[in-house]
């Protein structure tokens, strides 16, 4: 079973996920409430990308991780725990020492390249799909298969 996400404040980084071989998510712009940045880091290579939802490249993400990507790592560690983030991104780090800072330092030290995969549109649409979950109707017919998904007190 996958341990549940840990609660965190969502204002700065409303969406984080470990999916498709990447850490990816959406970071709110500090200056424009209509704008968000779509940021990602690829597992293994740490190839990174950051652009706005309108596909403009982020000015901060030219040579290395911008502040959006750093915020993404910080919030991912809050949500999933440092160990799971490290394992997903294939960052070698001593388990008990891993923090968002040590993970970011370990990745930037390898001088990762810009990601050419152009996943921003896919990530943004996954974010919209994620938001759409709030609009789905409840049901009162039983879902017997949810018996396989007990709540977990386990921490990621």
């Amino acid at each position: 079973m996958v341990p549940p996400a840990r609660p965190r404040k969502l204002a700065k980084v409303p969406f984080v996920e470990l999916a498709d071989g990447r850490l990816q998510g959406v970071v709110s712009s500090g200056s424009d409430i209509e704008r968000v940045y779509v940021s990602s880091i690829a597992a293994g290579t740490y190839a990174f990308a950051c652009s706005t939802n309108n596909n403009r490249p982020c000015g901060g993400a030219r040579g290395s991780f911008c502040n959006h990507i750093r915020a993404l790592v910080t919030e991912a560690v809050l949500q999933y725990g440092a160990r799971r983030v490290a394992r997903s991104l294939k960052v070698e780090t001593a388990d008990d020492e891993a923090t968002a800072q040590t993970l970011t330092a370990a990745m930037t030290a390898t001088r990762p390249p810009l990601d050419e995969a152009k996943a921003a549109a896919a990530v943004f649409s996954r974010f919209l799909r994620h938001l759409a979950y709030l609009e789905l109707a409840p049901v009162t017919t039983p879902l017997p298969e949810m018996q396989w998904f007990p709540p977990s007190r386990a921490v990621a």
Binding site: M1, V2, P4, A5, R6, P7, R8, K9, L10, A11, P14, F15, V16, E17, L18, A19, D20, G21, S28, I33, E34, V36, N53, Q79, F127, L128, R129, H130, L131, A132, Y133, L134, E135, L136, A137, P138, V139, T140, T141, P142, L143, P144, E145, M146, Q147, W148, F149, P150, P151, S152, R153, A154
Partner: protein, 464 residues
């Protein structure tokens, strides 16, 4: 409770589970071209079903699959075979639990096929994905195979009539995605994933997921406790209670469920917040009240198909009084044929006068009349006042009797604890309707803020 009846051998159980495990290993390696061990396991599965009605179909499916020539119909037959075997395990365990609990049991029910029309193309699309999984095996899954489910799940979620399968596929896909690639996985949860896979395969049969109302319930509902289920993108609460019909007929155990999809970042108290507006029963549970039902639809399995229009709050009702006084005489419902599975066993029980101890794994054990009964405190929701520590220090417990990995255990729904001659009750679902507890209120505030952020983002970005 006769806890002594819960231990010891169950005839035929090991053989049935061995056949299941063999199939699960074959599925782990993939069914595209099974190796000799996998082929032998498929044959053994078919042999375990010999003499039963689907035997011929299962034998053919096993043979074709072993030869690397399976089609989707064959996978359906194999899923049905595995489910039938676990159904027999369920029946043996349920009979034992019923004897231990000593309550009357309802008559068997005939399967009632669903009648609502179904978008068959979505069911077929789901089956195609599940077949891809089966061919690849858990060792062969990667992000591409797993993400193939996304369009099907999105389309299904929009239709509440398909929610049962959609919620299952969604939770399953999230779990598989977190385990990709399968080739480097340290340990494959073979039984669990094969359970989820075979249930999903059977639910792609039109009508299989239906639980039609067999009648209506009019009378008094006395809640016992709340069981919560959650995965990354769905939550369900299930209230267990004793229903006393107004016409004076025997009381019986019923459940009332409400579920809703959710973003994965909504957790803890946020789960209650999502569920709360859709079921007045949760408020009644939080306030310790009974509920008067008038014409509430109910299935033959004892599931109330909740609609607030058929319910109004009743007198106050202490679940521990219900457990002591009303529970022993209530009839246990039977399980629908498709739902017969050991993991589905959740029998309300009341325990007191037990000795408290700790098992080898560090978890609490209640020794009931000299017989140890393990306690699973891991299933207690975090957003509530009930804690593993309170359970370990309790004197009475309302819980669900469950079975996993060869043993029965109790999942506490509520406990009574006596501190300095004062007895207080702690309920897992106490915060279902909100709370004035300090830690609870803080969790509520954090959850409210999280949902507010997501709704604000949705309002700005979703409808563009």
């Amino acid at each position: 409770m006769r806890a002594d009846l819960l231990t010891g051998e169950t005839a035929g159980l090991d053989e049935a589970l061995a056949a299941v495990d063999g199939f699960d290993d074959a599925l782990t390696e993939g069914l595209l071209r099974p190796r000799p061990a996998g082929a032998a396991a498929l044959t053994a599965l078919a042999q375990a079903l010999a003499g039963s009605p689907p035997a011929a179909r299962v034998a053919e499916a096993a043979e074709k699959t072993a030869a690397g020539a399976a089609d989707e119909e064959h996978f359906v037959a194999l899923a049905a075979a595995r489910t039938a075997l676990l159904g027999s395990v369920h029946d043996a365990l349920t009979a034992r639990a019923a004897e231990a609990v000593g309550r009357p049991r309802a008559e068997e029910i005939a399967p009632a096929p669903g009648e609502r029309p179904r978008p068959v193309n979505l069911l077929l699309a789901a089956r195609a994905w599940l077949s891809d999984l089966a061919r690849a095996g858990w060792r062969g899954i990667d992000h591409e195979i797993v993400s193939g489910s996304a369009p099907v799940i999105s389309a299904m979620l929009a239709d509440p009539a398909l929610r049962r399968l959609a919620a299952l596929l969604d939770g399953f896909a999230v779990e598989l995605a977190a385990s990709c690639p399968g080739a480097t996985l340290e340990r494959v949860p073979a039984r669990r994933w094969a359970d989820l896979w075979s249930r999903a395969v059977l639910l792609t049969l039109p009508g299989a997921a239906d639980a039609p109302a067999g009648g209506t319930a009019t009378g008094r509902l006395l809640p016992l406790g709340v069981d919560l289920h959650e995965h990354a993108t769905a939550v369900q609460s299930q209230v267990h209670g004793v229903f006393e019909p107004a016409d004076g007929s025997p009381s019986r155990l019923v459940r009332a469920s409400v579920s809703v999809p959710k973003p994965d970042s909504v957790v803890g108290a946020g789960l209650w917040q999502l569920l709360r507006p859709h079921m007045s029963l949760l408020a009644a549970v939080g306030e310790g009240r009974s509920v008067e039902l008038t014409g509430m639809p109910v299935t033959a399995e004892g599931d109330l198909l909740w609609d607030d229009a058929h319910a109004r709050a009743g007198e106050s009702a202490d679940p521990f009084v219900t457990a002591r006084v009303a529970l022993p005489a209530a009839t246990d419902p039977v399980t629908a044929p498709l739902d017969r599975h050991p993991a589905r066993i959740a029998v309300p029980v009341f325990l007191e006068g037990y000795e408290r101890g700790t098992g080898e794994d560090g978890r609490p054990v209640f020794t009931v009349a000299g017989h140890p009964l393990p306690v699973d405190t891991g299933r207690i929701p975090v957003a509530g006042p009930l804690t593993p520590e309170a359970v370990a220090a309790s004197g009475a417990c309302v819980g669900l009797l469950r079975w996993d990995a060869g043993t029965f255990f109790v999942q506490p729904l509520a406990v009574e604890r006596t501190v300095r001659k004062k007895t207080t009750a702690l309920h897992a679902g106490a915060w279902a309707a909100g709370t004035t507890d300090k830690a609870g209120a803080k969790a509520e505030k954090a959850a409210t803020d999280a949902v507010a952020v997501l709704r604000e983002r949705a309002g700005r970005l979703l409808r563009k």
